[in-house]
Point group: C2
Chain length 365, copies 2
Amino acid sequence: PANKKLLILPGDGIGPEVMREVRRVIDWMSRRRAISFDMEEGLVGGAAIEAEGSPCPDATVEKAMAADAVLFGSVGGPRWDSLPFDKRPELGILRLRKDLGLFANLRPALVLDALVDASSLKADIVRGVDIMVVRESTGGVYFGEPRGVEILPDGKRRGFDTDVYHEDEIARVARVAFDLARKRRRKVTSVEKANVMQSGRLWRAVVGEIHKAEYADVELENMYADNCAMQLCSRPKQFDVILGNNLFGDVLSDLAAALTGSLGMLPSATLGAVDPVTGKRHALYEPIHGSAPDIAGKGIANPLAQILSFAMLLRWSFALDEDATLLETAVAKVLAGGLRTADIMQQGMARVGTSVMGEAVVREL
Amino acid sequence: PANKKLLILPGDGIGPEVMREVRRVIDWMSRRRAISFDMEEGLVGGAAIEAEGSPCPDATVEKAMAADAVLFGSVGGPRWDSLPFDKRPELGILRLRKDLGLFANLRPALVLDALVDASSLKADIVRGVDIMVVRESTGGVYFGEPRGVEILPDGKRRGFDTDVYHEDEIARVARVAFDLARKRRRKVTSVEKANVMQSGRLWRAVVGEIHKAEYADVELENMYADNCAMQLCSRPKQFDVILGNNLFGDVLSDLAAALTGSLGMLPSATLGAVDPVTGKRHALYEPIHGSAPDIAGKGIANPLAQILSFAMLLRWSFALDEDATLLETAVAKVLAGGLRTADIMQQGMARVGTSVMGEAVVREL
Ligand SMILES: CC(C)[C@H](C(=O)O)[C@@H](O)C(=O)O
Ligand SMILES: CC(C)[C@H](C(=O)O)[C@@H](O)C(=O)O
């Protein structure tokens, strides 16, 4: 079969250094598992602003369109904080999501047994938590028009955004959530503010229709976003799959990630639609954590979220389930062996830097 | 001086039964502290739908306009869940906020020493947490126009809402937050998604301007809403006052409340503008918790949030700081004495129902 085309976008901050550890894993995979990738690298975020004057140059979008999968690092940093709205590093990831049609952002929040104590929540509350947040990622208030800051006749300003969903946008991401739930514990919690928002009212209606017509074997629960935030904090184990729009999905997936206490461990995938002709889908994989400019370049960042993002890539884009599991198991074993980067350090464990952690994963493989 | 005019709106679910306990407190106050109230009662929520066909009858709004302060219970329940959008019990509270101009919703999240163990978070993470969320409550996506669910020419549906803020709306609620911070630990964390929303960009700009011009003695920190959710869960003690728009304020205040582990204890206040002529401001006080239909009528609901809402009322609407403190101290003592309702029950404590708890507070007074 043709080589798998992989685009690597390290981005800013700790992005490049954690990506280096993934390259070791890729090297190992090509040597030992005979999986070969055609790899390209591209510019995104602040790095692209410096080199090309744009957070997401056309060349990057073209490479991404041509690739089978994109492995993304992270973008942003204080250096670009004062740039105008339409020039900021964040546009790098937003444009990729939009132009590649990556509408389903999958964000697992998993508490590994070895890391139960890293959580700010009590051990008995978080042990065994295994949540998948499915966040719509090309619609809603992130892209809705009209939007802007206008100057009124009296010189005062008025800022406005439009939170808008077409029923098909809701239906397709709902299907992703229900399909996932079928492979898990068969429960979807769909989150909105149907009590105050019209788009939320439509969201609840459409999810209910899809459920009734196609997924009656999965349990569907509707929950207001404020209540969901509460419940995540107090009883996270009740959740299996959480489905939300772009904005609620953003906030609630970060909350779900935070309660695991090990942000530096969490990968994510963002998937497009399956092409009915080729059977392919665009997909981008990235850690949940940001560019962490405060620790960038110090060699102490945790590379595991980036490595686990690569494992998700193997599974979702190339159906290499066995290799993905191999990699995930290697990570779990390294942790069980007591190695910890600073962010997940616990008493009695051995504190290591980025590259020692990366090497340990390869050795375990 | 003229009697203080108080409007009581018990609403639905546990609202009426916890309100009964406040009445005991009011009786005691009028007898022993010579504070006399002109009390009226009104209909709101499901109760008003049953009696008058509307979740917020004009008569209720008129009484609220005439009152010096409104003590609100809670609204909603499964009985009214299938009503159309514009007839739901929730409209009771939304219309009151809007018609009375109650733009500043104050939601304290306080962890009492006696209740540290009720939290799902580790004791050392939550001990001493004392956060005040200031939520804008008459603007944003809750009321923005245009909004609706439209049918497109091909018969498909599209739901949309407008999240909109005028700079004056942002400025006035920001001032409330900064003023509060001055009486506390002098730090305001202003929350938005300025990286993706235009109204968020204006929010950040205006809060920054007000800070620079009028409150340079207070520390201002800007934080994205997703990050704030994370930080609340992992390091809540970093916060003093959190300022957010209607939607982020809704979700983050519920999260802040949840992490205390004692929802049944938390009051809130919603304040209007000070009338420049009379010096008066409309104000409504309500517990954070909802109508809890599952336990309504069983006599086990925790009346303390409603009682503490009344304490907030004494302080904010009538400047009766001494009496408010007296009441708050009585509550703390009752808890220290070991009484607990079911929601905050802990080992070794005495479990009591709604009225025993109410009586205990009065006895302590
Ligand atoms: C960087 C930012 C635009 C982005 C978002 O809000 O979607 C981030 O928070 C995320 O969740 O991927
Ligand atoms: C009842 C509902 C409309 C309300 C809101 O979303 O504002 C509630 O959640 C609240 O926070 O007071």
